[in-house]
Symmetry: C2
Subunit: 268 residues, 2 copies
């Protein structure tokens, strides 16, 4: 398998037990910072290396302490418990003396879980790809501010793209078809990027601008099938200067493969 | 203010910087373990003590590693960042050499947040208290297995109590009115207990039995008003031997005050 740009961007090098070097790519800049989902996958890659035989994030909770910058970073991992079929690990991403993200994660092997689906949230209605709005239609100045947009294909559901032309739906929902470039198929690690890639759901409430994540927890529920993903996020509670953003991801077979919730600050 | 039994049960004593002794009460036993929400509030009490001036949990994520037992326990706290209006802390609850729970939390002062509610999830329909089913109607043998039931009043919504008589609704929803005994009013710490107190939502799917929590994240969105709380939890995705349980809590004014999601294993 040839490593894609995405694989190179999230790669880590073991330099000592529980210590991994990373090089945060400027390709994932969004506005003033680096995308939180890209950072999460980078951390997740280091955690994977620290618990052999347990390749997949089942749950990961990240607390974002300060904004990361492109360039060198270090991920440290501490195994809290490794027994039976799962392991729990604490991980931190730092740059110099500054901790950027502190996280906890439970890993296992998703391929060994029973394949039964007893109940699954329905895939919401997504129009066919050709009826959706590609992010490449964004104005040149936005694409310059958000270079990560060049890393993937994202085709927005037309019902919730009004914010792009100053007419947000007010419903607090954004959804899109998604795939990484270079034919890089989804896997449990890349899903951690996907759950934090859509524009903040507050765009659909007429509140453009940066919405810093305080905390994000993602659950990877199954290994995704190859092909396009469908991603939807929504908010129902906007109060006290904060909102929750609930994201769900379905694979090409219509199976729910990841869920996340983040608590974020409202744009000023 | 006279300390209630609940306050005594969750109390911690500082024995060194970042180290707190606790005494886990047998009063919170449920089946073979101690209730996870009670443990979470005990940890939260230690975190509160470690960040003066930031009394309230805004977000807390707990990974449950092994089952706690009644008796002595130690909570250690490590401040990861304390700046501006919020602080983030790592905390662990241990008994002897066994880590029971490892957690991350962000604290602040909820009373200083803007009081605006721009959007809030609706309080679902709850019949009046007198039309609901008190947990004290449970058979004597169940009450003996779940002594924590004596610590609070819980009145179940009659639409989702069929599991108690072998007729689960199959919808995957349980809701109830709730208050602690001795007139102990809700506060941000006690909400962390409340989000994990209802019977596992799998009871309503015809799956009684213990559903061990892997991970639980709670967001406290506002300081609750005094009085009865309304608590509802639900699941939409039961697959691969696991399910998510989403809980919401509204205070007596109808305001959403807490949200949580946990990932748990299905009962065998």
């Amino acid at each position: 398998m040839v490593a894609t740009e995405y694989d190179r961007d999230i790669s880590v090098n073991s330099v000592a037990e529980g210590t991994y070097d990373a090089d945060l790519s400027a390709g994932w800049i969004v506005g003033g910072g680096i995308n939180g989902g890209y950072l999460l996958a980078t951390i997740a890659n280091a955690v994977r290396a620290s618990v052999p035989g347990k390749p997949d994030p089942i749950s990961i909770s990240a607390y974002y302490l300060s904004a990361s910058l492109p360039g060198p970073a270090t991920v440290t991992t501490t195994v809290k418990r490794d027994g039976g079929s799962i392991a729990t690990v604490a991980a931190e991403l730092s740059q110099g003396d500054d901790v950027r993200i502190t996280a906890l994660a439970t890993y296992g092997d998703l391929s060994t879980l029973p394949d039964t689906v007893e109940r699954s949230s329905d895939v919401p209605d997504f129009p066919p790809l050709e009826q959706c709005v590609p992010n490449t239609m964004a104005p040149e100045e936005m694409r310059a501010m958000v270079p990560m947009m060049e890393r993937f294909e994202m085709l927005f559901h037309p019902d919730h793209i009004g914010w792009a032309v100053g007419k947000p739906s007010g419903e607090g929902v954004i959804s899109a078809w998604f795939r990484l470039k270079e034919g890089r198929e989804p896997d449990p690690i890349s899903l951690l990027t996907v759950v934090d890639l859509l524009p903040p759901v507050t765009f659909d409430l007429g509140r453009p601008g940066w919405a810093p994540t305080l905390e994000l927890t993602a659950h990877v529920r199954a290994v995704p099938a190859p092909g396009w993903l469908r991603v939807r996020h929504a908010t129902r509670n906007v109060l006290g200067g904060m909102f929750e953003e609930d994201c769900e991801v379905w694979d090409s077979t219509g199976r729910l493969v990841a869920q996340s919730r983040q608590l974020a600050r409202l744009p000023r």
